[in-house]
Amino acid sequence: MKNNKEHIQNLPNLGLGVGLRGEHFNHILEHRPKVDWFEIISENFMDSGGRPRYVLDQIAEQYPVVMHGVSMSIGSTDPLNFDYLKKLKQLAIDTKAKWISDHLCWTGINHINSHDLLPVPLNEESLAHISKRINTVQDFLEQPLVIENPSTYLTFQDSTIAEWDFLTYLTEETGCGLLLDVNNVYVSAFNNEFDPVEYIENIPHDRVVQMHLAGHQNQGDYIIDTHDGPVIDEVWKLFHLAWKRTGGTSALLEWDGNIPEFEVCHEEILKAKQFMDTLVFEEVKNDRKQENSRLVSNPIDFMVNPVSKEFEITYGDR
C-alpha cells in the first residue's frame, strides 16, 4: 500500500491529452499531431485483433498512452472477473500504459452488464467492500489503480459518507490514485445538490493523477453527462480550482457524442492552458440545453466499432 501511494505520487504530468477515438484513426496516422498523450478505452482494445489494435500499436510507439476502463465494476458484489483483469494487465504491458483507471461504480450483478456506470451507496459497508476489491485488483495488476468519480444521477438513502470523503478513505485504505473528472463533479453536484467547490476542496489533492474535462447537456432539472460538446465556463472554473489545489496534473478532454474533427477536440483541451493560472473567458459559454429525450450518459460511440464505416474494398459482381 505504501508502495502504491509512492507510485501514484511519482506518476508524471503528461500534459494535455485527447481520448483516442476510431473516428480519428486516419487523421492521427497521417498527420501525427503534436498531442501530449492519448487515453484509450481499455475494452475497445483488449480483445482486438483487427484495425483498432493495429492502429493502437502504432500510436503507443509514438505517444504516451493511459488506459481507461468502463467494465471493471469495482463496486459490484459479483466476483471480480480475472479473465478480464488478465487481458487488462496484458494490454497495459503491450502499450506501456502509464496507468490504468476505472470508475467508482458497479456495472451490474448476477453476471449482467448494464454497460452503465451505476452509483454506489457511500457508507462503511461499501467502503470496506470496495477497498478490499481495489487491493485485490492492485495486487493482481502489480500497480495501483486510478479511480474516477463518475457522473451520478441519484443519492441513496443509505449513503452516509460524502463522495469526496469516500474517495479520500479509498486512497488511504488502498494507496490508489484518483482521476478527478471535473465535469462529473459539476454534473453530480447539480443532480444531487451538493457544493462542487466543497468537493474539490476536500479530495486528497496529492493523489490526483489525472483530470477529465467534458461537455454536458443541462435538461433544466438535471444534467446529463453527454460528452458531446465544449466545456462550459463553470466547469473551467472548477478546473482552475483543482489545478491550483493539485499543482497541476495530466488533463484530458472526453468527447464521445457528435465527435468533431480531431483538431477541434485537440483545441478544446488546449484551452485548459488559459485556465491553469488565471481565469480568462473569451466568450461566455454556459450550459447547453437540448430538447432530446434520447440523451445518453456515457455515450457508446467510443465503445463500439462502427464497422460499416471500415470497408475500404467492396467489389461488384465478378
Partner: protein
C-alpha cells in the same frame, strides 16, 4: 421487499433492486422507491432512477443500431428498436465488452419469428435472420485476431501451387442477395427488400480492411475446397468431377478467375 430504515440494506440487495429497475421493461414497485433513493428538491426518487433507466435503453439501442445498420434499415428503425428492447430483456449483456451485445440476436430472431406457429413460413423473416447473421459476422471478422503478416500475390504469372487465400476469407451461401443488400444499405443507397434468390459471397480482410466479393456458384465451391485443401490443383479437380465439367474449359475459366483475383489482392503467397 422489506426495507426498514434505519437498518442498512445489504449492498447486494440494493444492487439487485436497482438493476431490476434499470433494465426491466416493466414498471416497478414504486412504493419502495423512496426508501432506497433520496428525492431531491427538483426530482422525485422515481425521476432520479428513471435517468438511469432511459440511458440504459438508449445506450444499448444505439449500440445495436451501430452493430446492425443494414438490418435496422431493413426492418425500419421503430420495429428494430421494438425487437431490440425485447432482445435486451431476454438476453441482457453478460460480457464486459459491448462488441458482444448483438451476439445472440440472430438466435433471438429465430426464436421469436412472427410466423413461428404458421405452417407456411414467410420468406421475409428468413431474409432478416440471414441478414442478422451476416451483419454480425462482419463485426466479428473486422476485429478478430488473425495473421496479417503475409505477402500479397501481385504477379499473375505465379505458379498455382504457391497460392493461398487470405487468412480471413469467409464464404457465404444465402437464399437472398444478402451481401449486395448489405453493401447498398450501409452506403445509403436505400435498397429495396430483395426477393429470394440464391447468392454467394466472400468476406475478406486484407491489411485490416474488410471487403466483400460477390461470387458465382462455381467460384464459391472452388474457394470452399481451396480453403479446405490449400491446393488449387486439388480444388480444380474436385470441381471438375463434382460438377461434371470439361477440364480444358475449367482451366480456361480458372485463368480468368486467377488474374482477376490476384489483381484484387485476394491471394497470399504460400
Amino acid at each position: 421487499m422489506e426495507i426498514d430504515k434505519p437498518v442498512q440494506i445489504e449492498l447486494d440487495t440494493i444492487y439487485g433492486w436497482m438493476q431490476s429497475h434499470v433494465i426491466s421493461r416493466h414498471p416497478w414497485d414504486i412504493q419502495s422507491l423512496e426508501k432506497v433513493v433520496k428525492p431531491s428538491s427538483k426530482l422525485s426518487a422515481q425521476q432520479h432512477l428513471s435517468i438511469y433507466r432511459r440511458s440504459y435503453f438508449s445506450r444499448l439501442r444505439e449500440c445495436m443500431l451501430v452493430q446492425f445498420p443494414a438490418l435496422s434499415y431493413a426492418l425500419g428503425r421503430d420495429l428494430f428498436i421494438q425487437f431490440t428492447d425485447i432482445y435486451l430483456a431476454q438476453y441482457p449483456s453478460q460480457s464486459y465488452t459491448l462488441a458482444d451485445l448483438g451476439q445472440h440476436f440472430e438466435h433471438f430472431l429465430e426464436e421469436n419469428r412472427p410466423d413461428k406457429y404458421q405452417e407456411q413460413k414467410e420468406w421475409w423473416v428468413d431474409f432478416m435472420i440471414q441478414l442478422a447473421n451476416f451483419e454480425f459476422q462482419v463485426n466479428i471478422k473486422f476485429d478478430e485476431i488473425a495473421d496479417e503478416n503475409y505477402h500479397l500475390v501481385k504477379d499473375i504469372s505465379i505458379k498455382d501451387d504457391h497460392l493461398n487465400v487470405l487468412p480471413i476469407c469467409e464464404l457465404y451461401a444465402h437464399d437472398f442477395p444478402i451481401s449486395i443488400f448489405y453493401k447498398e444499405a450501409i452506403n445509403d443507397k436505400s435498397p429495396e427488400q430483395p426477393l429470394p434468390q440464391k447468392s454467394y459471397s466472400a468476406l475478406i480482410r486484407r491489411n485490416y480492411r474488410l471487403g466483400i466479393f460477390e461470387l458465382q456458384p462455381l467460384q464459391y465451391h472452388f474457394l470452399k475446397v481451396l480453403k479446405e485443401t490449400n491446393s488449387v490443383k486439388e480444388s480444380l479437380s474436385r470441381l471438375c468431377s463434382e460438377f461434371d465439367l470439361d477440364q480444358n474449359e475449367l482451366m480456361a475459366t480458372w485463368s480468368i478467375w486467377k488474374e482477376a483475383w490476384i489483381e484484387e489482392g485476394f491471394f497470399i503467397k504460400k
